[in-house]
Subunit: 124 residues, 2 copies
């Protein structure tokens, strides 16, 4: 029985805002030990994503705010999708994680290649 | 039949040197679209690892060189290990990738949670 996104995702998601300085997001990644920061608007709706790759590669550029580095066409998943479907989505887009959203584009969780890889490590 | 590391790893590995400026490594990550940079010495032996997380979280600090941010106790894999064993290693240490080394500590490949997750996406 293939697991669903909701059984594997992390439900406590840390999110950021587009006007955050990049250094502020760097601090969040460090303190929370995460790689993915979904960006939400004042209503809590998903409007972008920033990863440690976006922040790392901003070094040596003149960028200052997350709005200048975030990806706005976000690839997302839904809670009731099968995890192997999401695994194929990650591969297709060469990304390491997807925010899990509901129909109102609110962030309910996050699922990463590390979570999916963990499933493989536990199968015997 | 469980796949082995050598069947799944990426063999063309981009490596860095400890004296590289952090901004130089940021440029490599951007141009090569990668997250993991194993660090080797002048003989090509593995001495550390730097990821986009290390580089991202150096923002706002006074660090300049990879030697100041790299992890020196590197968790590695061997070509003939089963991939599910490596998946458990990644989970245990909360890391997203391992350099694959030979007995001489030369880097033969790299295996990441994205590679392992791809395997799950392809099973039916
Ligand atoms: C091609 S990936 C490779 C590096 C790394 N694995 C990652 O996912 O960031 C880098 C780009 O993908 C973007 N990205 C990551 N997750 C995404 C998602 N769920 N939807 C859209 N873009 C995403 C990041 O914002 C970054 O600009
Ligand atoms: C705990 S992880 C979490 C963030 C991200 N997933 C990553 O792997 O970088 C962050 C730290 O793990 C370290 N790390 C990553 N891969 C490693 C490996 N194969 N061996 C030892 N440390 C590693 C990085 O250098 C970084 O300092």
């Amino acid at each position: 029985v293939t697991p669903l996104v909701r059984d594997v995702m992390t439900k406590e998601v840390i999110t950021g805002r587009a006007d955050y300085p990049i250094a502020e997001a760097a601090k969040i990644l460090r303190e929370k030990n995460i790689d993915h920061l979904p960006i939400v608007d004042e209503k809590g709706k998903l409007i972008g994503i920033v990863t440690s790759w976006d922040i790392a590669t901003s070094i040596g550029t003149k960028k200052n705010r997350l709005s200048e580095v975030m990806t706005t066409r976000v690839i997302t998943a839904h809670e009731d999708e099968p995890v192997d479907f999401v695994a194929r989505t990650l591969e297709k887009h060469k990304i390491s994680g997807v925010p899990v959203v509901n129909s109102g584009m609110e962030v309910k969780g996050i699922l990463t290649s590390e979570d999916i890889s963990r499933l493989l490590g536990r199968r015997k």
